[in-house]
Symmetry: C2
Subunit: 163 residues, 2 copies
């Protein structure tokens, strides 16, 4: 993860030189993409110690936050903003590892409930601690303004009707 050039500055120079449009937007988008790339790598590294990926951690945390530890598959996808097929995939693996189990919905035969197991609860709490320890990949010598990040990205999310 050590570079001898700034990918964003590099991109900016090239776009400028070729007269391509929306340079500032491009640089902002590239920054977000790169920051995400960095975060995901660090986060996945942290949760892998607990046999998880970030996706699985998110699903597990979501279930853990629930009253009775269960949620219909569809709700999981909705909350996590991922496709239903991705939920099937994620729950498959969590179930394989005994962190989650599928149950029939008592009233609606179409619905499948994903329920976190006791083991799942242990794992997700340990993983959350590991993530906290690295400040979710945002840690390091340079000071990061967490609140500013949230603020500056809010309009981006709002433009996509994110809330």
């Amino acid at each position: 993860m050590t570079l001898d050039f700034d990918p964003v500055a590099e991109a900016r120079r090239n776009w400028q030189r070729h007269g391509w449009p929306s340079i500032d937007a491009m640089a902002a988008a590239t920054s977000i993409t790169r920051a995400h790339q960095i975060l995901l790598a660090r986060i996945d590294d942290a949760v892998s110690a607990h046999g998880l990926t970030f996706s699985r951690f998110e699903a597990l945390a979501l279930l853990h936050f629930t009253k009775d530890g269960c949620l219909p598959m569809g709700k999981v996808g909705e909350r996590l903003q991922v496709h239903a097929a991705s939920v099937t995939n994620t729950v498959d693996r969590l179930e394989r590892d005994g962190r989650v189990e599928r149950r029939r919905h008592p009233e609606d035969g179409r619905t499948v409930l994903a329920c976190i197991t006791d083991h799942g609860r242990e794992v997700v709490q340990e993983a959350a601690a590991s993530l906290g320890a690295i400040d979710f990949g945002l840690g390091g010598p340079d000071t990061v303004d967490f609140a500013a990040i949230e603020t500056v990205l809010a309009p981006v999310r709002r433009n996509a009707d994110d809330f």
Copy 2:
């Protein structure tokens, strides 16, 4: 892409309630993740009209920016910060579609050069225009401060030795 709740605020509430650590960092990381998710969807949608994905567009643009339109596979991965196997994959598909062709390196038999074709140059320029038209997924009714995004994410990237 329309939600009736704010995923970040939601996450913040849940973490708070369970006493989990680094809430502000979590919210910032979640914002970045979500912003990236939004951008990627919009960008991919824009370039798909030209038979590209964002990855392929990036590779194509990189080659287009080069003096002679060629770059060793390894250099492509280095610039794009992706694994060598991903480069192989991306170039395979670009080559299949006639946007790129592989050539032997004249001096080093180990090296494979990825070279953009004339068709590739046409496509990448059209795609760049499409991306500019949507401000790289950052467009919308709410005003987005491009420069602020770059500034606020700089320490995140610097913490990962990104430049």
